[in-house]
């Protein structure tokens, strides 16, 4: 299937926070309560439609365990978006966010859009991290924030799609340096930011401010279901 853009995503965060479950829910609309530990990287993909453009999300689901971390961080490079996930029922996964964020920022483009996700919002009775804390962390570090439940699918679509919208908005606004004076091609520069232009797409039609754009900061950190 053709697409206008391909965005590379990484999903990062402590082990057991639900990264693979989020991916499974997004790609297959299924929840699998028992999941093998991820080793290395597992891949998922799905097409989404943003502003009438078909966009392929290529998702790299990384292992969260500390022993894999030095390996998986080498795959952050070239990501356009990151889902940084913690578990709202485990305080320590929230406490480790700074370390994950440092890693992500160090090993990827400064333009990478990062969505902070507090997962397992269905487990309200076991909540250990207040929603406001997640919001504050996101605000402090310039992230988008959502609480999700991979189990109930609450906000899962929105988390992936809003990240794509924000990336697309950056492209439209020209925040990705797609034109430069030394003649480097636009597609090359986009690729460096984890974005690929799909086959037969013309960069001149895709780049530039759009009347329909809006800040994804406004996009629904609340879609109402969580």
């Amino acid at each position: 299937m053709t697409y206008a853009y391909l965005f590379k995503y990484i999903i990062i965060g402590d082990t057991g926070v639900g990264k693979s479950c989020l991916l499974l829910q997004f790609t297959d609309k299924r929840f699998q309560p028992v999941h093998d530990l991820t080793i290395g990287v597992e891949f998922g993909a799905r097409m989404v439609n943003i502003d009438g453009k078909q966009i392929k999300l290529q998702i790299w689901d990384t292992a969260g365990q500390e022993s894999f971390r030095s390996i998986t961080r080498s795959y952050y490079r070239g990501a356009a978006g990151a889902l940084l996930v913690y578990d709202i029922t485990r305080r320590e996964t929230f406490n480790h966010l700074t370390s994950w964020l440092e890693d992500a920022r160090q090993h990827s483009s400064s333009n990478m859009v990062i969505m902070l996700i507090g997962n397992k919002s269905d487990l309200e009775s076991r909540r250990d991290v207040k929603r406001e804390e997640g919001e504050a962390f996101a605000r402090e570090h310039g992230l988008i924030f959502m609480e999700t439940s991979a189990k109930t699918a609450c906000n899962v679509e929105e988390a992936f799609i809003n990240t794509a919208k924000e990336i697309y908005r950056k492209i439209q606004q020209g925040l990705f340096d797609v034109h430069n004076e030394v003649g480097t091609t636009a597609s090359f520069l986009l690729q460096a930011n984890g974005i690929k232009i799909g086959p037969q797409q013309c960069i001149s039609t895709s780049v530039g401010p759009s009347a329909s754009q809006r800040s994804s900061r406004d996009m629904g950190s609340d879609s109402g279901c969580c």
């Binding site: 299937m1 693979s20 499974l24 999941h35 080793i39 990287v41 891949f43 894999f68 080498s74 690729q191």
Partner: protein
């Protein structure tokens, strides 16, 4: 791993064999013009920038139960994340996407967390076992005239991984039946897995990877004994010996 050819010629396949690799010897390309395998071509297609220049040794397989019932098509390859490495350090698994049958990369796994065994040499079957305990069986899919040679290349590669891998990384170990259930990680020096072949997981429980959406199509599968499909033809063993990328002069697998 050392590559004995230009980076852009790196793509390997089960067919590319020749001496070289760890030893400081000139490589003798057995088949310099062999077209890349399916997995290599998929990575070269442009969606995986970071992986596109990896030299890969790959073959097509079908996933089978322990008893040999056919489940899914799988393409498995090993690759080195850096040309400076003497041995591959990554395992790549791919298979047809459920939507369109096009090859789709499922996962990329550090070989230090994967154990590879010869499961049944007479059926050209390997066993892949992750350190997490997850395991599955793969039967080589190749033309009858090249199947033994291609499987032999895998066996030699497994041997090389087992006996020449870096300290601390032991991707190829022996597994006795007594250890099968308790997931101990004792290692032995034989090339073959010596567990008892009995039972077999139902096909619906066989998943190469845990993501159901990536389960491979069950249609159009060859029987374990049938001739390979057209898609196999791009991957052929080429002469005896090891895959070119990781070959070196060696003796037969030793038993310590």
């Amino acid at each position: 791993m050392k590559r004995g050819h230009e980076p852009k010629q790196a793509p390997g396949g089960a067919g590319e064999a020749g001496p070289g690799g760890m030893a400081e010897r000139p490589l003798v390309p057995a088949c310099p013009t062999r077209r890349p395998g399916r997995l290599q071509r998929h990575l070269l297609s442009g969606e995986f920038d970071q992986l596109r220049d990896l030299p890969i040794f790959e073959s097509n397989f079908v996933q089978v139960t322990r008893l040999g019932e056919v489940a899914n098509k799988v393409t498995m390859g090993v690759a080195a994340s850096s040309p400076a490495l003497e041995l591959p350090d990554l395992l790549l698994l791919a298979g047809p996407a459920k939507e369109n049958g096009c090859l789709q990369l499922f996962g990329l796994f550090p070989l230090q967390f994967v154990q590879l065994f010869v499961h049944d040499e007479s059926r050209w079957q390997l066993k892949v076992k992750f350190r997490t305990g997850r395991a599955f069986y793969l039967q080589l899919r190749a033309a009858p005239e090249t199947r033994n040679r291609e499987f032999g290349q895998w066996v030699r590669l497994l041997y090389r991984l087992r006996f020449h891998s870096a300290q601390g990384a032991v991707p190829f170990t022996q597994e006795y039946s007594a250890l099968e259930d308790d997931e101990e990680e004792d290692e032995d020096e034989d090339l073959t897995e010596q567990e008892e072949v009995s039972g077999g997981a139902p096909l619906e429980n066989l998943r190469l990877l845990p993501r159901p959406g990536q389960a491979l199509s069950l249609c159009c599968l060859p029987s374990p004994t049938c001739h390979p499909e057209t898609s196999c033809r791009g991957l052929n063993a080429e002469g005896p010996g090891l895959p070119r990328l990781w070959s070196q002069p060696c003796s037969a697998p030793a038993s310590r």
